[in-house]
Amino acid sequence: MTNASYVERPRWSCALGGALAAVGNLPQTVPILHCGPGCAGNFAWTNNGASALNVTGPCLGLNVPATNLQENEVVFGGLERLKEEILNCFEIMEGSIYFVLTGCLPEVIGDDVESLVLELNSPKRPVLFSSVPGFNGDSYKGYEEALKTIFLGLAAKKTSKNSSLVNVLGVPPAMDPFWRGNLEGIESLLSLLGLKSNLFFGPRADLELIKKSGSAAKNIVVSPLYGLEAAELALALYGLDYVQAPLPIGAAASERFLRIVGQALKIPSTKVEAAISEASRIHYLYLEPIIDLYNDMELQRHALVVGDVNYALALSDFLIEDLGWASELVAVVNDLTESQKEAVLDFRKRLGGPYSPEKLIFENRAEAIRQEAFKIWKSDEGKKYRNDRKPIFVAGSSLERTLAAQLGAAHLSLTFPVTNRAVLTTGYTGYLGGLRLTEDLVDACVSGR
């Protein structure tokens, strides 16, 4: 974590928020929050403003059962209240799984939630539990903890390996505003290799598959950091190995992704290459109509990319490799330790595209990002002959709108917080995702046409 005394407009919520976004999207599952009285409302308004208008699910928003702890419980303990809540929850809320998530208050006052959950848990009505207080980490941490609990509590212990089933890890619901489409894009890539995907979360997730996740052939972690701890846990629990790859945005990244997965699963390379060849053929048939405008409208841009570790590097690769843009400055916004930063850079080197961005910084403060951007785009202004690296495109969050305006740049909200877009199916992974991203980027360039 950062040593800074404050985080500016945090580009994530807390562990409880990340865990709720995950568990609330787990099939047939009722999350139960054991936390202060405002946490659920806080997350609803967070997602309203930051997750591309994704707010409710049947058990999200203000529908989620929650103990809303008050002073009395803070003083005398909240376990009794939680027990009552869970028992009444069984009566009212329809679910196959009940999943308790604890926030800051019970963790500080020392409620022994684990024992209570053990007491109430039964094979017929599983009650799971993740400890996810906000002071222990951010949304990504919450996503990770929820995944770990799923591997511990839901995945089957001993069944024979299913050689065509893979688990997809590393796409955190709501933190990735395009998570549903991104999971679907990864699922269709994997299906090109004849693999069945267990996605855990969202409309295409399946509880029966989740229960079999321990016997999958591989965990596929599409992130330099997120989902890794869960993958390590699954390795220890089930001997289930994992393979890492960047979020496969667009054609070039999808090709790399298919080769990485194919190699890890020992799929014959002829089969992998045939799949790539066919997918590429169709991809370029779709891309074809824009060739004229790419030339005639000078659709090459100089990009500033701002996003989390999943997006920042994957977007930069896409812009360089698929669109031939210049990736001038990439800001990775997560608060990372030095060793995490090294891991991210090493991941990029090993698994990312062949071209680095001109400059990469680890930074989330608007003023610091602005200063870096101004060094590139505002120095020597007014000089008669100057390579001004324009036109500029800002591919970042909604918080970069001010900077984009200062730079005279086009802007598209792609990373959390995404305030000004409504996302239902849109995702940018896979071949089709790359085409969609091309459409959206070009839309932003030609909207005044």
């Binding site: 404050y6 929650a66 500080v108």
Partner: protein, 495 residues
């Protein structure tokens, strides 16, 4: 004693012990304090609850709109990320008021495990010093949330120790969610901070009193359309309006003390500050009625006019406005005739909107109010000719709402932002009645809501599609149950 002299303001339930979160029964039962689950005026609660909001959210709703101000949240990193949603309003509101569209500045000390063990005061201290240098704001609002409240951080002491070292004024705001059940505490804690630090010396104010200046309190209930409507009406009476405190620059705060009168738009919000303004600066106030609904708007205007000696002008204005509005509404009334409605929102808004709907020809099947306190008695009286509808006091609790809606099957549902999806998922056309992007207040607010209701009722297809496919998380058995079975009376505390 004057509360404002103490560092930490009292929570709502201490100042208004009658405030309640839990009641369920027929409307006629609330006045008599009876009912199947009549828990009003006792410290009742529920043995099953769904997530709610705490004072932090409405407090941020005000704080994030203040220009030249930084909101420094002292707590875990998730507390206050709702500012992402609030920022939508702050950006639009700045633009609508002729200022640059810009993001609010909210920051978090992001307390971690080490801070929980060793205390977060040091980190807060560093943060304040750095924020002052980095952002150069006029005001830093230091907001304490649950975590510092449990680990014992003293934000007031930190703020005091730094006040001579930094340029900005430091205001501490206490939003420890677990300390108050009532969101309304939010208004008190923000008013407390503003009132303690940003109002002028009473001696200076005396020379600047303006007999034509009216404070209209807005803690976020009204968007620009509503403010414009009230400005228009008061202009007709020769009055200038100071909307306060949302979007007010800290330097403009002395205006509030110079006004001839203050008027509350939503009585449950403002008594803490209005009594302070009266005591310290001699600004009298009106805190009765909410200007939603034809008769309510007229009564509210006449109350103000009465005190400021403009009754004749006001009577004329009200007559003219009502006539014009009623004639314009004729277009919609046939579509509303005999239609049934269910309302859920903040106490005052839900009750005032019920009066408005009756004026439009709707039949009220139920009203849900996020809390209940003595301020609403006058609104209950207005509705008392009809005793048969349900009245449910709940800090949202959509499970009770789902149960009632399934039983009552209203033609339309009117609810607060983030409170409409239960109805929508059941296929009931839902109309948002709190969202600052739209108009609700004054005569034009009546027309605007009627216009939107007409559109909803005549084009309900989106909702009807959800009748078959909308998902709610409740067991079938729950819909057969008494909706109020989880309300738990606390006999010891009841009167």
């Amino acid at each position: 004693m004057n509360y404002i002299d103490s560092k930490i303001p009292p929570i709502r339930e201490l100042r208004h012990p009658e405030t309640s979160l839990a009641h369920g029964g027929k409307f006629c039962e609330i006045k008599s304090r009876k009912g199947r689950k009549c828990a009003v005026f006792s410290q009742a609660d529920r043995s099953f609850t769904q997530g709610s909001i705490c004072p932090l959210l409405p407090a941020l709703g005000i704080m994030c709109t203040l220009p030249n101000t930084v909101v420094l949240l002292h707590g875990a990193v998730g507390c206050g990320t709702c500012a992402n949603g609030i920022n939508v309003n702050a950006r639009a509101g700045s633009g609508a008021r002729g200022r640059a569209v810009q993001d609010s500045v909210w920051l978090s000390t992001a307390l971690d495990e080490v801070n929980v063990i060793h205390g977060g005061d040091g980190k807060l201290r560093e943060a304040i010093i750095e924020v002052d240098k980095q952002f150069k704001p006029k005001v830093i609002l230091v907001v304490s949330v649950c975590l510092p409240g449990v680990i014992g951080d003293d934000i007031d002491a930190v703020a005091d120790s730094l006040k001579d070292q930094i340029e900005a004024k430091i205001l501490s705001v206490h939003c420890e969610g677990f300390k108050s059940k009532f969101m309304a505490t939010a208004y008190d804690v923000v008013y407390h901070a503003l009132g303690r630090h940003l109002l002028p010396d009473p001696a200076e104010v005396k020379k600047k009193k303006d007999k034509n200046l009216l404070n209209v309190m807005n803690v976020g209930s009204m968007g620009i359309a509503d403010e414009k409507e009230l400005s228009r009406l008061f202009r007709e009476l020769g009055l200038k309006v100071n909307f306060f405190p949302v979007f007010a620059d800290p330097e403009s705060f002395p205006l509030a003390a110079q006004a001839a009168l203050s008027v509350s738009v939503c009585p449950t919000h403002d008594d803490y500050f209005l009594t302070h303004l009266e005591k310290k600066y001699g600004v009298p106030y009106v805190i009765r009625h909410m200007p939603i609904g034809i008769e309510n708007v007229s009564r509210w205007l006449l109350d103000v006019a009465q005190i400021l000696g403009r009754v004749e002008e006001a009577k004329k204005l009200v007559k003219k406005e009502e006539k014009e509005l009623k004639s314009a509404l004729k277009e919609f009334l046939p579509a509303f005739e005999g239609k049934s409605a269910f309302i859920s929102a903040g106490e005052y808004r839900s009750l005032a909107t019920a009066s408005l709907l009756r004026e439009l020809g709707f039949k009220i099947l139920g009203i849900r109010s996020f809390h209940y306190d003595g301020f609403a008695e006058v609104e209950l009286d207005k509705l008392s000719s009809d005793k048969d509808f349900f009245f449910n006091v709940a800090n949202v609790q959509p499970f009770e709402e789902a149960n009632l809606l399934k039983k009552l099957a209203p033609d339309v549902f009117l609810g607060h932002m983030h409170g409409n999806s239960t109805a929508a998922r059941l296929g009931i056309p839902a109309q948002v009645i709190y969202n600052t992007a739209y108009a609700y207040i004054g005569y034009s607010g009546v027309y605007d809501l009627a216009k939107r209701l007409y559109r909803r009722l005549t084009r309900p297809q989106f909702y009807h599609n959800l009748t078959r496919h909308g998902r709610l998380p409740y067991r079938l058995g729950w819909y057969q149950s008494d909706p109020f079975v989880y309300i738990r009376e606390n006999k010891e505390a009841s009167q």
